[in-house]
């Protein structure tokens, strides 16, 4: 692929500049402009961006609407929370309990020994594998059950929502094993490193930004391959793709698992940044909110999803701080307004209004940089078609 052969050239391209702008915002501007408390909140918003990026792939590109992404986010988060909780529940720290050495909520629920499925979470390596592996495994099972039977569209969305409801009920009901509705709270250290200090939170923020870019590049890599094109084709004309000899179900399962993996990483980071995990992130409302981040950012744009997650959550915090009585109405108005007025979200808005300006500016200031024509493509002021990826190089 040409782009990977010359990353510098890619950075100078329009797409590269967008990524640079986002990196500049997240790595330089926000950390300088915000105090550690606000930066920590941005870190929390960014963990939702992982889910939103996954949804762009799964829903925006491949057309599979999942209303249960909270499940994968939550599973990733719970895996991390279990590890941290075990670390916090040393026999010394829990000496006051009837059974020291087990998490506090188990003791309250009359458990006297650690359940078997908690045991492996003593190991950090296992936890790291599990926080991606568990969500992916569940996505694989759901995908195999659904897509091979050609369940799709609305039916699939409803089933994912039901799974979100089931998992929430399961976790709340089995409180001795899961912490119930309280969730797993009071997480303190990661391998002896106190995650509650400002320094730790700032570092975790940068880790979060780094991993988010890793996810973005992974998603971009997939989208620019033949694989990505098949996903888009599948969305537009599933039958044609099938009759062309492709196994549609396999592609769907793949992209669904990919989105689950992203969500799992986001959930694990959420646990680290926020310091606890509870079933309220798994439920239907949380899952739908995640779809809204993606819709607001623009469901076809990877970067739009990141901005969407940032914006919606910042608005949520901002509105609820300044107008505690009115904020749910303002949030509702924001969603309805954006979806009605700009169906392609922020990214669509940007493409319609800002991009033409940008194109004009580019042409005037830097008359054809040699890099652009060399790749022999676009920036020709054609109206934007969201189904076509304008940034992809020609097939190699």
């Amino acid at each position: 692929m040409k782009t990977s052969a010359s990353p510098l050239k890619w950075l100078a391209s329009r797409e590269g500049l967008y990524y640079l702008a986002l990196a500049l915002l997240l790595v330089v501007i926000l950390p300088l402009a915000l105090d550690p408390f606000r930066l920590n909140m941005v870190g929390k918003y960014l963990t939702y961006a992982f889910v939103a990026v996954g949804l762009v792939m799964c829903w925006g590109k491949a057309g599979i609407l999942s209303l249960g992404q909270g499940v994968f986010f939550g599973l990733g988060g719970y895996c991390m929370a279990m590890f941290l909780k075990l670390e916090a529940s040393t026999p010394e720290a829990t000496a006051i309990q009837s059974t020291p050495g087990i998490p506090d909520f188990m003791d309250w629920n009359q458990l006297t020994e650690l359940p078997w499925f908690w045991e492996p979470f003593h190991s950090f390596a296992f936890t790291l594998i599990a926080l991606i592996g568990v969500p992916v495994l569940l996505a694989l099972i759901i995908g195999l059950a659904m897509f091979t039977r050609r369940v799709g569209g609305v039916y699939f969305a409803i089933i994912t929502q039901a799974i979100a409801a089931i998992l929430t009920i399961l976790i709340i009901g089995q409180q001795g094993y899961t912490g119930g509705v309280n969730g797993i709270t009071d997480l303190q250290t990661l391998m002896g490193w106190d995650i509650r200090t400002d320094e730790a939170k700032t570092l975790l923020y940068f880790v979060c930004v780094g991993l988010l870019f890793l996810c973005l590049f992974t998603a971009r890599f997939v989208q620019n391959r033949k694989l990505g094109r098949i996903l888009v084709a599948m969305n537009a004309q599933e039958m044609r793709v099938r009759f062309s000899g492709y196994d549609v179900a396999a592609f769907k399962i793949f992209v669904f698992c990919l989105a689950a993996a992203f969500a799992g990483v986001g959930g694990a980071l959420f646990t680290l940044i926020v310091g606890f995990m509870s079933p309220s992130f798994i439920g239907i409302v949380a899952s739908i909110e995640m779809v809204i981040f993606c819709a607001l950012g623009g469901r076809l744009s990877l970067l739009g999803a990141v901005y969407g997650a940032l914006l919606v959550n910042a608005a949520k915090s901002g509105f609820s701080e300044s107008l505690p009585e009115l904020w749910p109405f303002l949030m509702g108005a924001l969603f309805i307004g954006v979806v009605l007025a700009f169906p392609n979200g922020l990214a669509g808005l940007y493409q319609t209004y800002v991009m033409p300006l940008e194109a004009r500016l580019f042409r005037r200031r830097t008359p054809t940089p040699p890099a652009a024509p060399a790749t022999g493509r676009k920036d020709d002021g054609k109206p934007f078609d969201p189904m076509i990826d304008h940034f992809s190089p020609e097939k190699s």
Partner: protein, 422 residues
């Protein structure tokens, strides 16, 4: 836990104020001092850790759900806390400073509670937080409060098993409600068999654990114990079981919307609570809940709590009058609302006893503080940060009020980690 980092981590108050602002304050304080109006201690003396205290104001936080499923329960607490703050301000404030509050919405969502608590402590530098309702929200907020060394006044009756140096628990912990309630049922009603029923989460489970141990100790019998998920609305099967086992007492800790279904279905099944066969003793239905269930559906049930709106004492009459004057005549006041009202008052007394807003000094000053003007009567803060308080048994009337039928002669000692009950 984290006390020292907090002091260093906090910004000194007033840095955000312009030079002109501070000059004005200076001038004002000089004028105040020269007229020798009141002995208002200077801010640097009463605030050494950078809380939001100025020469004439002090900032506190109110953190409850005013949206979402818990709003209906928590709004009463918000109203009570605001009423107390207004009354304290009208009486001259705290150490000569008017209380200003920052209200945040926990939105019935535990992580939001944690985020808002962090915001109140880090951004607003509040001197105290009055808030939280469910155990889940308290558990979410607790690490934050401990990390940044804040002080939370928590109003709800709860399961105990907790004692944080950064929380004052103004509601009852489980043993205070349960032991007195069961003793009363055994002594005055001759109860021998009990059926334990609750919503499925930590508070009912812990409460029933304590109840069961106590019943065992008395040599009596538990004939059934059942839990239903939050929001459950089908109680027919348990009603049949109850009819079969014929317990003397149903000990109920069902919460929230489930109550509506439970009491209506009991009534539909032909149970008349005024017959007291079986007698129903609840620790979870306050006047607030009855408003949702309907007085006619709970007529005759007994509740074991520390406060009922109908309590007949001068403090309570003043309180009910002030509450209705502020929020309307149709307001009802439940146990938690009253406990929330205690928060600002107990904080004010602790600050004045300590002569400082510093959290560490308030913590030291709090045990032993007495509040004689409490609507529930006299309360005192125990070493373990819970309140000594009396427990009352009330019988629900059709108008949605409880008639007080019994009151413990002595204050019940709070015992969040009861020996032999765990």
């Amino acid at each position: 836990m984290g006390t020292t980092t907090t002091a260093a981590g906090r910004r000194p108050s007033g840095t955000r104020k312009g030079l002109r602002g501070s000059l004005w304050t200076l001038a004002a304080s000089v004028m105040l001092a020269s007229t020798a109006q009141a002995a208002v201690p200077p801010t640097p003396e009463v605030n050494t850790t950078g809380l939001a205290v100025t020469d004439d104001t002090v900032k506190v936080g109110i953190l409850h759900s005013i949206t979402g499923t818990m709003a209906i329960s928590e709004i009463g607490s918000v109203q009570a806390e605001k009423l107390a703050i207004d009354q304290i301000n009208a009486a001259g404030g705290v150490l000569g400073r008017k209380i200003e509050y920052v209200q945040e919405d926990g939105a019935s969502d535990w992580p939001t509670f944690a985020e808002k608590a962090r915001k109140l402590l880090r951004q607003d530098d509040v001197a105290a937080i009055f808030g939280c309702w469910t155990s889940a929200s308290r558990k979410a907020v607790l690490p934050v409060i401990e990390q940044y060394n804040g002080m939370l006044y928590y109003p709800t009756f709860y399961e105990g098993l907790e004692q944080s140096p950064n929380v004052i628990y103004t509601g009852q912990e489980a043993t205070q409600q349960i032991l007195a309630g069961i003793d009363w049922a055994v002594k005055t009603k001759g109860a021998k068999t009990f059926y334990l029923l609750g919503s499925d989460y930590i508070w009912p489970r812990t409460s029933n654990k304590i109840a069961r141990k106590h019943i065992d100790k008395l040599g009596l019998k538990v004939v059934g114990e059942e839990y239903y998920p939050l929001g459950h609305t089908q109680f027919n099967s348990v009603i049949n079981k109850i009819k079969l086992k014929k317990p003397d007492v149903i000990f109920a800790s069902v919460v929230g919307g489930s109550n509506v279904a439970f009491y209506k279905q009991m009534k539909a099944a032909g149970v008349d609570f005024t017959d007291e066969k079986p007698l129903l003793l609840t620790i979870s239905v306050t006047e607030d809940e009855i408003r949702g269930i309907g007085g006619e559906n709970v007529n005759g049930i007994y509740a074991s709590m520390k406060y009922f709106q109908s309590l007949d004492n001068p403090n309570n009459q003043d309180f009910v009058k002030a509450f209705k004057a502020a929020y309307g005549d149709d307001m009802v006041i439940g146990d938690v609302t009253q406990a929330a009202y205690l928060g600002p008052w107990l904080w004010k007394m602790a600050v004045e006893k300590a002569g400082s807003f510093d959290i560490d000094k308030i913590r030291e000053a709090s045990p032993g503080i007495e509040f004689t003007k409490a609507p529930e009567g006299y309360v005192r803060i125990h070493e373990n940060h819970h309140l000594w308080s009396k427990t009352r048994i009330g019988q629900a009337q059709t108008d949605g009020q409880y008639k007080v039928v019994y009151e413990t002669p002595e204050l019940m000692e709070p015992d969040p980690f009861p020996e032999g009950y765990q």
